[in-house]
């Protein structure tokens, strides 16, 4: 809060000083207030956490396919360790990979560049938000190694299991896990305020609301959604922390509390959270598609309004996670209707994307492949979601691998495909070098194909009645047969293949960074403002007296009046 007020400047309308004063290495890369550096910090932290999350997935998939073996690089997996692994895999992938990379990293990197500003409005709050986030990552990693092991109550952390050390047997791990999550929320609240005010107030002269690139809109709508949904959960987290440490009984039925309460608070946040990460991913995809289809977005306002509609609707669907949790059965009917209603705006966004492709002149570069893969895979995720949103079918599918496969088919396109799409698209702007396209395509196919081989078997297993979060299926004769184990082995082997192909990606980053072709200002011939400055953009983004002015919308591709098929936003005339 101190920084909120400390960073408030406004009466010095022309007070921009010298942006190029000498900085030490620490000032420039560690304690920087430059939005691009902070964006990179978020991104590399997110990537590091993704590696850890991937490693966890590897360990527990090995255990599931070959129960009891000593996993190379880990050893024997005990039930407690298994629970800790799945819990933290989920937590890390959503809160420490999807959120920081999609929202914080690209939000920080893109918003000021795309709206023609030299930085965020509150650079020091921005730095503070990263520092809190970084601290929260450390707390989470520490929680894995404390006495008793990491928290093993699933990423949803339902009490009473999570509230009482006697039940979860990881008292310290559970509290640290909760503190880490709460800190992370605070970091994104601070960051979100920055995004929102920056977008609202710091646009380049001439840039009207409908001239803002969609990805900026999406990140900001997502920040607002996050801000409005996370509050009750933060209060709930404080209550849970008191239950864990002080011995209060907020969630203890024996003492007047209610264990279902946490579920309501969690999912009131948790479901909008899906859209919090989905919207930026859609924004990125739309951006990339417009550039590589050389087409204007089919209905800019339509995308924007459906995003808002999705956001509003997402507040009224949370209880579909609790159909069988003991809520009033009549409520389930209401939530079935709202849940299926949300398919309308989402379907509409996909139609808009398809319509954007129609009549375009598609160039299948690596980022474009990622964008198309996002659409294709997310469609599967969306369609399977309808089975789960329908209360009747959910009785059976709830908490089976069907759910698991479903949300991986939504989250993988969002968090992984969306991030790769953005990363490959904006890599030239970040590092000034082109990425190797061949390696990029190898990595693309090496990721997307195994992905389907991981989760399609899991759909089948889920329909066969296999439940989540069980570390060894040999105790259940009905699902311990060899045909089930074959499916599990296929999934595990596909995962190994997919992880191996990520090495190509890292190799590609390093090689392109060191030896890549120089990118130039606008390698993709795109319209938006970030391509009008140097690559990589200097501190302050543009020379002080050359900040861009905007004359038109961001997606004027293939305009009939122009020789060139693109028309940058800042060109007059």
């Amino acid at each position: 809060m101190a920084d909120t007020v400390a960073d408030v400047h406004q009466h010095e309308a022309h007070g921009h000083g010298d942006h190029h004063h000498d900085q030490s290495w620490l000032e420039k890369y560690v304690f920087s207030t430059d939005h691009k550096i902070i964006g990179m910090q978020y991104m590399f932290t997110g990537m590091f956490m993704a590696v850890i999350g991937g490693y966890m997935a590897y360990v527990f998939r090995m255990q599931l396919a070959f129960p009891g073996i000593s996993v190379p690089g880990f050893g024997q997996v005990s039930p407690g360790e298994y629970n800790a692994l799945i819990t933290n895999h989920g937590t890390i992938m959503i809160f420490w990979v999807a959120m920081p990379v999609l929202i914080a990293a690209f939000g920080n990197f893109l918003i000021p560049l795309m709206i023609g500003a030299d930085d965020m409005v509150f650079p020091r709050i921005n730095r503070l938000s990263f520092q809190i986030f970084f601290l929260s990552s450390i707390v989470l990693l520490v929680s894995l190694f404390v006495e008793g092991g990491g928290f093993g109550g699933a990423w949803t952390s339902y009490p009473p299991l999570s509230a009482n050390g006697d039940y979860n047997q990881t008292q310290l791990g559970a509290s640290l896990w909760l503190i880490a999550v709460a800190l992370e929320f605070v970091a994104f609240l601070l960051g979100g305020i920055n995004f929102i005010t920056t977008l609202m107030n710091s646009r380049a002269p001439g840039m009207k609301a409908y001239d803002i690139p969609l990805v900026c809109w999406m990140i900001v709508i997502a920040s607002i959604l996050f801000m409005l949904s996370v509050g009750p959960l933060l209060a709930g987290a404080v209550m849970l922390l008191f239950d864990q440490t002080l011995g209060t009984g907020f969630y203890d039925p024996a003492r007047g509390g209610d264990p279902i309460l946490w579920q309501h608070l969690f999912w009131f946040f948790g479901h909008p959270e899906v859209y919090v990460v989905l919207l930026p991913a859609i924004g990125i995809t739309v951006e990339v598609m417009a550039t590589f289809a050389r087409k204007k977005i089919f209905g800019y306002k339509m995308v924007l309004y459906t995003a808002v509609a999705t956001g509003v609707l997402s507040f009224f669907v949370w209880a579909h996670h609790q159909f069988i949790a003991g809520i009033d059965p009549r409520m389930a009917n209401v939530f079935t209707i709202t849940t299926l209603l949300i398919s309308v705006p989402i379907a509409e966004m996909l139609f808009v994307m398809i319509a954007t492709l129609y009549g375009g002149s598609i160039r299948l570069t690596t980022p474009m492949l990622w964008a198309l893969a996002f659409m294709a895979e997310f469609l599967i995720g969306g369609v399977t979601g309808i089975f789960l949103g329908a209360s009747g079918a959910d009785i059976y599918f709830h908490d089976t691998y069907f759910v698991l496969a479903h949300f991986h088919y939504t989250f993988f396109p969002i968090a992984i495909i969306g991030s790769f799409c953005a990363f490959t698209y904006w890599f030239p702007k970040m590092f000034g070098k082109m990425m190797n396209d061949t390696l990029g395509k190898i990595h693309f196919w090496g990721t997307v194909i195994p992905f389907n081989f991981i989760f399609i078997p899991l759909f089948v297993l889920g329909m066969g009645g296999q439940h989540r979060r069980i570390y060894n299926f040999q105790h259940f004769p009905q699902i311990a047969g060899p045909e089930y184990f074959q499916l599990r082995e296929i999934a595990t082997i596909a995962l190994l293949v997919m992880l191996a192909f990520q090495l190509v990606f890292f190799y590609n980053i390093i090689m392109s960074w060191m030896r890549g072709e120089k990118a130039g200002k606008n390698p993709w011939k795109a319209n938006t403002l970030e391509w009008t400055t140097e690559s990589p953009a200097p501190h302050g983004n543009w020379p002080v007296d050359e900040l861009p002015t905007v004359y038109r919308g961001p997606y004027e591709y293939g305009h009939p009046d122009r020789e060139e098929d693109y028309w940058p936003q800042n060109l007059p005339g």
Binding site: P79, N83, G152, G153, Y158, P160, L161, N164, Y167, Q169, P253, P259, I260, A293, R294, K295, K296, I297, F298, G299, M302, F323, I324, A325, G326, P329, N333, T336, I337, L340, L341, S343, E348, F351, I354, L357, Y358, G359, G360, S361, I362, L372, L379, A390, S391, G392, A393, I395, Y396, D399, H467, R468, R469, I470, Y471, N472, H475, F476, Q478, G558
Partner: protein
Amino acid sequence: EGLFFWLIWKFRAKPGEKSQYLVGNEKHVKRWITIPHALVLVCDVFIVVGAVRVWYNVKQQLPEPDSVIRVTGQQWAWTFQHPGADNELDTSDDIFTVNDLHVEVEKTYHFKLESRDVLHSFSVPVFRLKQDAIPGRSITGWFEPTLTGEYDVQCAEICGIGHGVMAARIHIEDANTHAAWISSASAATTP
């Protein structure tokens, strides 16, 4: 999906050709969005009607029971309380078993679901049935077995370290076998 790949193929970049300039404001163009849009809505309505009907049958209405049992979850086992020979729960001849539930085929059962400690979920995949058990509450549900045999009962809500071993079996028996089981079990438990 097919349409999607066709579009990608059809509109590959051809050198020297500019893309079409479609704004998306004209009526005949907007039709391409509104028609599928309406289709999605119609599908949604069908699904909602179907889902609600199933839901109503399974969860909202309770048919008259032939028998009532009590299911209690705890870390990490299921306790089943059968009504015993007099077919009434909470009498002295109740039969308690751990991780083995015995029911008779083609009888309607009510179950009262409780929990001693944390959340559990009583899931019988073969019945397509699932209900969370919540400490401090007793939740009533119903089922009617139609096949005989022996099937899995799982816990479907993570409940701690032993979650993976919280397995039980449901034995669905015909009338004679079930009666025989009741008498032998009662004999075993009566002092």
